[in-house]
């Protein structure tokens, strides 16, 4: 109930009582209340004219790094006797220092700085408006409005460094890189021997082969190293995720995707990212640091979804990825996924699956009982069968128990080519 309305009712009640009983004392009781209401009306605030700007101490931070938000409010209108400002931080942010609400008096042309520090988990945090309210001194009349003060910052996913991820897709790019291209030419690794052609450097000469065939000279050939196209596919389907308290397996998938993107781009490759789950979130392939930033930001804002269309991997738009290129799927996997993955392999893609283990992850959230042990055992058998089926189709599968940091797993399982049978760490 608003305060003027309450006071009005009291005044009305007292006056009615006074008129009804013809007793002036009731009217006397109403007078202070009337005066109070009149004072409120007299000092009723004017609509505020404010200029608000929001500045952030950083626009991209790591998960534990705090961000200081400063709201600068300039009063361009008349005096605001009771000025209340409430800056509601986006969901997921925790205020660790200062306050996002303030009550004060704001004089004309006065500048007010509201500063507070927040911390949050991975994500994109968008600030849009600030709620301000002005009241008269008695707090009877209030003018409340939302003023725009947009800004945003990213809390980037955790990134670990992996020195090398060995891949060897059949299709390579035209630029020099680090991936063996199955073609002879300049390089480091020995590839073969061929007859000398004019223009070949003399230091390539193979004296033994040339000595065996006096009629011609032979030179060594090296395997060319080129850049490749890598398509990272991040599984953001809600149904493939596992939860343990407030922890989600999806966060580990994001961590792996960020690390792999960083490693592949560091090797000069052309990397694209496709987030499959909520919608079609496609980061067009590119090279270098700019692309790294694009991918990291896409991963920072990635959210899970439960879209029926994307329930299965069948709707994966394979046209986005060049045939015979390297695909890396980061997914806990569900049993229905195997057919689509085998089909992708059959189409000629070189496929690597990084699979955070949902069974081990969820298992730790439960107590010890016979039924849980049995259920875990069944789930593990199902998962092993699924992974074994994928390996039989020559898909490189990395089964990742997420308690082990990703860079350790990558160092063991991805450092050397194991594309025929894949890696199994369990």
């Amino acid at each position: 109930m608003s305060k003027p309305f309450l006071l009005g009712l009291i005044i009305y009640g007292l006056v009615i009582a006074g008129l009804g009983t013809r007793n002036g004392a009731f009217l006397v009781l109403a007078l202070p209340v009337m005066l109070y209401l009149a004072a409120g009306l007299l000092y009723e605030p004017e609509p505020p004219r404010l200029k608000i700007t929001r500045t952030l101490s950083a626009d991209r931070v790591t998960p534990d790094q705090p961000v200081t938000i400063t709201l600068t409010i300039i009063n361009e209108g008349s005096k605001l006797e009771e000025f209340y400002v409430d800056d509601i931080p986006p969901t997921g942010l925790e205020v660790i220092e200062g306050t996002s609400r303030l009550l004060t008096t704001l004089h004309p042309d006065q500048t007010l700085d509201l500063e507070y520090t927040v911390r949050g988990n991975r994500g994109l945090y968008r600030f849009s408006t600030v709620r301000v309210a002005v009241r008269d001194y008695l707090g009877l009349f209030q003018k409340q409005l939302l003023l725009p003060a947009p800004n945003q910052f990213f809390v980037l996913p955790e990134l670990t460094r992996v020195k090398q991820v060995a891949i060897r897709p059949p299709r390579t790019g035209i630029y020099s890189g680090l991936i063996p291209a199955r073609q002879g030419g300049p390089g480091v690794e020995f590839f073969g021997v061929r007859e000398y052609q004019p223009g070949d450097p003399l230091r390539w000469m193979n004296p033994r082969a040339s000595a065996r065939h006096p009629e011609s000279f032979f030179v060594n050939e090296f395997e060319q190293e080129r850049v490749v196209d890598v398509g990272l596919i991040l599984d953001a389907r809600g149904q493939s995720d596992a939860q343990r308290g407030s922890e989600s397996l999806f966060e580990y998938s994001i961590q792996a995707a960020a690390t792999l993107a960083d490693t592949f781009l560091g090797g000069g490759n052309r990397v694209g990212l496709f987030i499959y789950g909520r919608s079609l979130d496609w980061t067009f392939p590119g090279y270098g640091k700019v692309q790294r930033e694009r991918i990291i930001r896409a991963l920072a804002r990635a959210e899970q979804g439960h879209g029926r269309v994307f329930e299965r991997l069948e709707h994966l738009p394979t046209r986005l990825f060049p045939v015979r290129s390297q695909l890396v799927l980061i997914s806990p996997l569900i049993s229905k996924d195997s057919n689509m993955l085998i089909r992708l392999r059959a189409r000629g893609y070189r496929l690597m699956v990084i699979s955070p283990d949902p069974v081990a992850f969820e298992r730790q959230g439960f107590g010890d009982s016979d039924s849980i042990s049995l259920a875990t055992h069944i789930a593990l058998v199902e998962r092993k069968l699924l992974l074994s089926r994928l390996r039989q189709a020559e898909i490189q599968v990395v089964d990742w128990p997420v308690d082990i940091p990703f860079h350790q797993i990558a160092h063991v399982a991805l450092n050397r080519l194991t594309f025929q049978r894949g890696a199994n760490l369990l």
Binding site: M1, F5, I10, N23, L29, P32, L102, L103, R135
Partner: protein
């Protein structure tokens, strides 16, 4: 601030209860004390906005009841002004609790108290003066005042709607 609001609620309750104690009306006096305690508890522990509204209505109603029971009018006037101040302070305390006041002692408290005391004092003065000048109204005046009240009520409703729509 909350302590001052509580003090003013208890003062109001004691003031009104004393008026009934003087005339040996113990049951209303005890009821007023209990209601005062309930209002204080609601402000102290729960910060309930509606408790303030009920507190004001009840205490002004008690002042009216006192007048009906022929208790001293100025005492009841004092009680209703005290109730109004207690209600205002409880709301002010709520607003301060909800936000982080900047230099609260200087910027907000003093002007608020000053205006409140001026309004309360003027209200008391006006009430006292008005009580001194008693006039008898004939039926025509009563009808006119009733008409005026109907218009003012519609104005109050309009103001309340405007406030709610902001």
């Amino acid at each position: 601030m909350k302590q001052i609001a509580l003090g003013s609620i208890i003062f109001t309750a004691m003031l009104l209860a004393l008026a009934f104690i003087v005339t040996n009306d113990w049951i209303p006096a005890l009821s007023i004390i209990v209601l005062g305690v309930l209002w204080s508890a609601a402000v102290w522990w729960r910060n309930w906005d509606w408790a303030n509204a009920i507190g004001l209505v009840v205490f002004v109603g008690i002042a009216g009841f006192g007048i009906w029971r022929n208790l001293p009018t100025f005492w009841m006037l004092l009680g209703s002004v005290a109730a109004l101040i207690a209600w205002d302070l409880a709301h002010f305390a709520q607003r301060l609790t909800a936000a982080e006041p900047l230099n609260e002692g200087l910027l907000l408290w003093r002007p608020h108290f000053e205006r409140l005391l001026i309004v309360g004092g003027l209200g008391l003065l006006l009430g006292g003066v008005a009580w001194g000048f008693q006039i008898s109204l004939n039926f025509g005046w009563v009808v006119f005042l009733g008409f005026l009240m109907a218009i003012s009520l519609s104005w109050v409703v309009r103001v309340a709607r405007r406030v709610n729509n902001r």
